[in-house]
């Protein structure tokens, strides 16, 4: 999948990754026709452009006055290709989960667009939005709150069919639910059990089965394994990989565990304080990172081999993540960056292939939002 990233038009001084083939001002029926059209493997299926979400900070009880905004997501652009897994990593509070909610239209974007097959889903409503929701599903982080404790497993996995009755006829639904249970590795006879009778890993499988029910094309996974034990994490991630091949799914995989993301992703995006810091294939990001933040993150990944651990450089960042309500000027990372200069405070680095790598056939030639991007192998350094 690494070749996909290289096919992109490179080195424009704009954060736009590529041009979007927009379905302009669609009527409901046109939008639904565009949404239901198939997409070739390797073509972009979801294109996010300058997505912004600001949560207003208000004061007052009855008459609310806005006194500021938390800039949770502040201008993010990326593409998700059909059949690939795009990993999004970043520390707590960098806006990963908000991106997931925006893609699911569970939150309203402040500005920017999310194009699903050329249709901007942030402006859809009613029937067309429902058609999009059929094709984009989500797996949640916490398997203990994402399943209704008062519904049986059969009702939970069967609910998608009740909301979209055209997917499965009424008499067929129970069989479909049992098939789904089987697909995610649970006993189909558990259909009448309640969520509390399952372990965390089993519950996450139920959540995945619910996500699969409508045969979606994209599954947004918001930290799907971070609430599970390490041994169970592997089972669930491997299940998700198996399902991706079986059902030809595209994953947007959000996590803070770099090892898991490397294991499952074809491409990886690194977020910092509401912005994309660096994006590229997993080889480009993990073995040839050019953004200082990525390098610092990777240098913190635990290494199981004591001998190589001794020799490698640990980049220890000083200070805390600045408040997203009041982010630094220029480059967001400059307050903690060892390379920061005058220019970083005044000029915001754009997400693009750095000038020095432009046109060169090197794995370092991928998009990185840094004025002083430079390759540094922190994982293998000895």
């Amino acid at each position: 999948m690494a070749d996909l990233a290289k096919n992109e038009p490179a080195a424009e001084a704009t954060p736009n990754v590529s041009d979007v083939d927009v379905v302009a001002d669609p009527t409901k029926d046109e939008a639904i026709a565009a949404i239901t059209a198939p997409v070739e493997r390797g073509e972009p299926i979801l294109q996010v452009r300058n997505l912004v979400k600001h949560f207003p900070l208000t004061q007052g009880i009855l008459f609310k006055k806005q006194i500021g905004a938390v800039k949770a997501v502040d201008g993010i652009s990326f593409d998700l290709y059909q059949g690939e897994t795009l990993g999004i990593v970043g520390e707590s509070g960098c806006g990963k989960s908000t991106v997931a909610k925006l893609l699911m239209t569970l939150e309203t974007a402040t500005s920017g667009e999310v194009f699903y097959k050329g249709t901007d889903i942030t402006k859809l409503s009613g029937r067309a939005l429902k058609a999009v929701r059929r094709n984009i599903q989500m797996v949640f982080q916490d398997p203990y709150t994402s399943l209704n404790p008062r519904m049986t497993v059969g009702d939970i996995i069967g609910e998608p069919f009740e909301i979209h009755p055209e997917v499965a006829p009424k008499g067929d639904r129970r069989r479909r639910v049992q098939e789904l249970l089987d697909v995610v590795g649970l006993n189909p006879e558990y259909i009448n059990r309640y969520p509390h009778q399952f372990s965390g890993g089993q519950r996450q499988r139920i959540g995945i089965a619910r996500g699969l029910a409508l045969n979606p094309e994209i599954i947004v996974c918001d930290e799907p394994v971070s609430a599970l034990d390490v041994s169970v994490q592997a089972q669930v991630v491997n299940l998700m990989e198996k399902l991706q091949d079986e059902f030809n799914l595209s994953y947007l995989f959000i996590a803070h565990d770099l090892s898991i993301v490397r294991h499952i992703s074809d491409r990886v995006g690194v977020m910092y304080l509401g912005k994309m810091a660096e994006i590229g294939s997993d080889e480009q990001i993990y073995d040839h990172p050019t953004h200082p933040y990525t390098q610092a993150l990777l240098s913190a990944v635990p290494v199981p081999d004591p001998a190589s651990r001794e020799g490698r450089e640990r980049i220890i960042l000083t200070g805390d993540v600045p408040s997203p309500a009041n982010p630094p000027s220029g480059c967001r990372f400059r307050t903690r960056c060892w390379k920061a200069e005058e220019r970083c405070a005044t000029e915001e680095p754009l997400l693009a292939v750095p000038q020095r790598f432009t046109g060169k056939d090197t794995p370092a030639a991928h998009e990185s939002a840094c004025h002083f991007a430079e390759e540094k192998d922190v994982v293998h350094a000895a």
Binding site: R133, Q137, R150, I163, D172
Partner: protein, 328 residues
């Protein structure tokens, strides 16, 4: 049970030929059950679709607390409709000569201050007391949980306004409010009293419903339903209501007892129900003046009131437990 000869059942022929008839049937049965797991038409006992409500009902039918309390309530409802079934006398025919007399043949509960038969009055009083209690609770629960639930779910301006309105209602003292509002009413029916209770009672339920709806709507499963494309109605009915209704049930069943007691208080103050209406509240307040001379006048209607309230609280408790699958 599916036909054991149906195709797709592996080995059934060999099983029949190899073993005796009984063993073959056993074999076919066990095969049949595992097959039903794949077959919605099979309809065996373990694979029938089950839901929260059908499971709750199965659970309730086996719960002795539910059975006892619903028997008591059923009995109360029956004697409210046909009091003459168990009391042949007239609650309004009184003989002052028998004032405060104790139990005697034909009059097991004795006589009250006015010389009326306490047994007959207790039986006839059930109608008004149960009607006031149940109707006031229903009104309060429906109005309060609908207003509070919608305010909690949708939030925004209406939520802010509703919260301030409930604050204002909490500031009204119940007895004073009753004296002011009910003294201008001339009707002798039970409706003004019920209306007053609903008017002052809904803010309490509304606050509880609002709080538990806000808690429930923040759960990921509500987000998951929204992500599936569920309508607001579906989210409210399938996901939020079952998870938010427990505190409302508890508070409403406890409130039912206090409404029957409040009816007694208001009647005592002369603004509630008025004679010739027969109610436990009126009898309790009449009897309370002479409780040391003739305690039986107080004990029978008060005992009936206590059992009624207990029955409703036990019913509420059993329903709440049955709606929580974790307690099964």
């Amino acid at each position: 049970m599916p036909d054991p000869q149906q195709p797709g059942l592996p080995d059934d022929k060999s099983a029949i030929s190899a073993a005796g008839a009984g063993a073959a049937t056993d074999m076919a049965m066990s095969e049949g059950i595992s097959l039903e797991g794949q077959d919605p038409q099979g309809g065996g006992p373990d694979t029938k679709p089950r839901s929260l409500w059908s499971d709750a009902w199965r659970d309730l039918r086996r719960n002795p607390v539910f059975l006892i309390s619903s028997l008591i309530i059923l009995f109360l409802v029956v004697i409210s409709i046909w009091p003459s079934l168990i009391a042949s006398g007239n609650p309004l025919s009184c003989d002052l000569a028998k004032s405060q007399q104790g139990s005697q043949p034909g009059h097991p509960f004795g006589f009250n201050q006015q010389g009326c038969d306490v047994y007959t009055r207790t039986v006839y009083g059930a109608r008004t007391s149960v009607a006031v209690g149940v109707l006031a609770t229903l009104g309060v629960a429906v109005l309060g949980s609908v207003l509070g639930g919608l305010a909690g779910f949708f939030g925004g301006v209406w939520d802010a306004i509703l919260s301030r309105v409930t604050d204002m209602f909490f500031a009204i003292p119940v007895v004073l409010g009753g004296l002011v509002l009910l003294s201008v009413v001339t009707s002798t029916t039970i409706w003004p009293v019920i209306g007053f209770m609903v008017l002052l009672g809904w803010p309490q339920i509304s606050r509880i419903a609002r709080g538990s709806v806000i808690t429930a709507k923040q759960n990921d499963y509500v987000q998951a339903a929204r992500a599936l494309g569920a309508s607001n109605t579906r989210m409210l009915l399938r996901h939020i209501t079952p998870n938010a209704v427990a505190p409302v049930i508890v508070v409403a069943t406890i409130a039912l007892g206090t409404y029957i007691a409040l009816e007694a208080t208001l009647s005592f103050l002369g603004v509630g129900l008025r004679p010739p209406t027969v109610s436990w509240g009126i009898d309790i307040s009449d009897a309370s003046a002479n409780v040391r001379n003739a305690p039986h006048m107080l004990l029978w209607p008060a005992g009936a009131l206590a059992i009624t309230v207990l029955a409703f609280i036990m019913l509420g408790d059993a329903v709440r437990d049955a709606l929580d699958p974790k307690l099964r």
